[in-house]
Subunit: 206 residues, 3 copies
C-alpha cells in the first residue's frame, strides 16, 4: 500500500531524475565533458527544489538534507552520459523530459507551499517557480534564453498543474489522485501544445 508521503517523495524524486536527464542530455549535445554533464544535470535536477525550499525558509533544502536527491541527480547525469543514444532516440527527449519535470515539480512544489501555510495564490506561484527554476538555470548556464520565455504554453502548463492541486484541496478530494491529475494535466498540456504547435497570444503591439 503506497502512503501519501511516499507518493509525494516519489513524484519529487522522479522530477529530479527527468530534469537531471534533460540537463545531462543538453550537456552531452553541447560536447561538454563528464564534469560539465554532472554540473548541468545537477543544476537542472536540484535548482527548482532548492529555490522552493529557500523561499519557504525550509533550510537546508531537501536536495542537501536528503541524500536520495543527490544520488538520483547523479544517476541521471551518468545515464545521460553513458546512454545518450538511447535517450536521444526518444521523440524530442529534452522537451518531453522537461515537460515531465515541469508537471512533477509544479505539483510537489505547490503542495509543499500549502503545507507550509502559504495561501492558494502564493502556493500556485511557488509551484510554478519550483517547476521552471531548474530548467531556467540549465538554459542560462549555457547562455540560452530559458524556454519559460522562448516557448508558448510553458509557465501556463505549470500553473494549471499547481491550480489542480489547490482546487483539489479546496474541494476536499483525495490527495493522491489529485496530485497525479495535476502532473498529467501540466505535463500533458505542455507536450500536446508543442506537438500541435499551439501558440499563445502576442501583444497586438509587438
Amino acid at each position: 500500500m503506497i502512503t501519501l508521503g511516499t507518493l509525494v517523495v516519489a513524484l519529487d524524486l522522479l522530477g529530479t531524475f527527468v530534469f537531471g536527464l534533460s540537463g545531462g542530455t543538453v550537456a552531452v549535445r553541447r560536447g561538454l565533458d563528464i564534469f560539465g554533464v554532472l554540473v548541468l544535470a545537477g543544476a537542472a535536477a536540484l535548482a527548482g527544489g532548492v529555490v522552493r525550499d529557500v523561499l519557504l525558509g525550509a533550510t537546508p533544502p531537501a536536495a542537501l538534507d536528503d541524500r536520495r536527491y543527490l544520488l538520483v541527480a547523479l544517476g541521471a547525469a551518468l545515464t545521460a552520459f553513458l546512454f545518450h543514444p538511447v535517450v536521444n532516440r526518444l521523440l524530442k527527449p529534452v522537451m518531453v523530459l522537461d515537460a515531465l519535470g515541469l508537471g512533477l515539480f509544479a505539483v510537489t512544489g505547490c503542495r509543499k507551499a500549502l503545507e507550509h501555510g502559504l495561501d492558494p495564490l502564493a502556493s500556485v506561484l511557488l509551484g510554478v517557480l519550483s517547476a521552471v527554476g531548474g530548467g531556467a538555470l540549465r538554459d542560462l548556464l549555457v547562455t540560452e534564453v530559458p524556454r519559460v520565455l522562448r516557448e508558448e504554453i510553458y509557465a501556463l502548463a505549470a500553473l494549471v498543474g499547481a491550480a489542480v492541486v489547490v482546487a483539489g484541496q479546496g474541494l476536499g478530494l483525495a490527495e493522491g489522485p489529485v496530485l497525479i491529475a495535476g502532473v498529467v494535466a501540466a505535463s500533458g498540456l505542455r507536450i500536446v501544445s508543442v506537438l500541435r504547435n499551439w501558440s499563445a497570444p502576442r501583444s497586438p503591439w509587438s
Copy 2:
C-alpha cells in the same frame, strides 16, 4: 493622514509596478507571448525584493506572503501587454521605469535592512542588491548583459539613494521625507546621467 508604514508599502508596491512594467515592455518588444510577458514582468517586479528578504532570513518573502505584490506585478504585466504603445510613447520608457524602480527599491530595501538590525554599510549594500536584482534577472533571462554592468551611473545611483536613508536615520531626521528624498536622489541621478550622457571613469588600463 498617511502613516509611515503605509508610505513604505506604497513605495515598495510602486517599485514593483514600475519594474514589472519595464519587464513587460522588454518582453513585448522582443515579441514574447502573453506568458513570456508575465514571466519577465514578474521576474523584474519581484526578484529584487525576494533576494532582499531571503538574505534577511525574512521567509517566506513579502512577494509570496502579501498578495498585493503578486497582483501588482500581474497588473503591470497586463498593462505592458495591452497598452504597449502608450507606455512606449514615454521618453525611453524602459530606462525611466527602471530608474524609478531602482530608486524605490534602493530606499525600501535599505530601510528594511536597518529595521532587521544590519549595520549601515550592510544596509546600503542590501538596498543596492534589492534595487539591481530585479533588473539584472530581467536582462539575464533574455541573455543581455544586465544594465548594472553596461551602464554608467547605475549601481552608484542606488547607492546614493540608500546612503540618503542611512544618513537621514543617523541624523535623526523625519523618516517620511528622508525616504522620498532618497528615491528622488537615486532615480533623479540615474535619469539625468542617462539624458546628459554622464560617464564614470574607466580604468586607465582598460
Copy 3:
C-alpha cells in the same frame, strides 16, 4: 599563535579577495567603468559565500553581517581597477586567481556545512557550490558560459578539496593542516590541469 577560527576566517577572506580580483580583472578587460568593476568584483567575491549561507539558513550571510568581507571585496575591486597591468603581468591571472578562490571556498564552504551538521556528501556538495557560485555569477553577468561548464577539471578540483576536508575530519587529523592541504589539492589540481591541458572524458556519443 594562530587559532583555528582565525585560520578559517583568513582563508575565507583570502578567497573573497582573489575572487574579487578575478571579477575586477574581467571587468577591466571588458572596458567596464569603475562601477561595473565594483559590481563584477563584488559578485565574484561574495556570491559563493552568500549561496552557502542562504542554503545553510545562516542569514544574514557573513558577507553582510561581517564588515570585513565587504571591505576586502572593495579592496579587490580597487586593486583590479588601479593596478590592472600589475595583475595582468601574472601568468593567466584570471585563471590562477579563480583557481585559488575555488580551492579556498571549497574548503571553507565544506567545513561550514559540516559545522552546521550536514552529512559528508551534502557538505562536499555545498563546498563545491560555494566554490563555483561566485565565478559562475561573474561569468553569467557578462553572458559567458561559466567556466565550471566550459573547462575540464574545475568542479572536480573543488570536489577534491572538499573531500580532503571530509576525509581529514573522518580520520580525526588536526584540522588546520587538513584545511591547507585541501586548498593546495584543489587549487593545485585546477592550475596544473590547465597548464598541462588535461582533459576529462566526453560522452562517447557527443
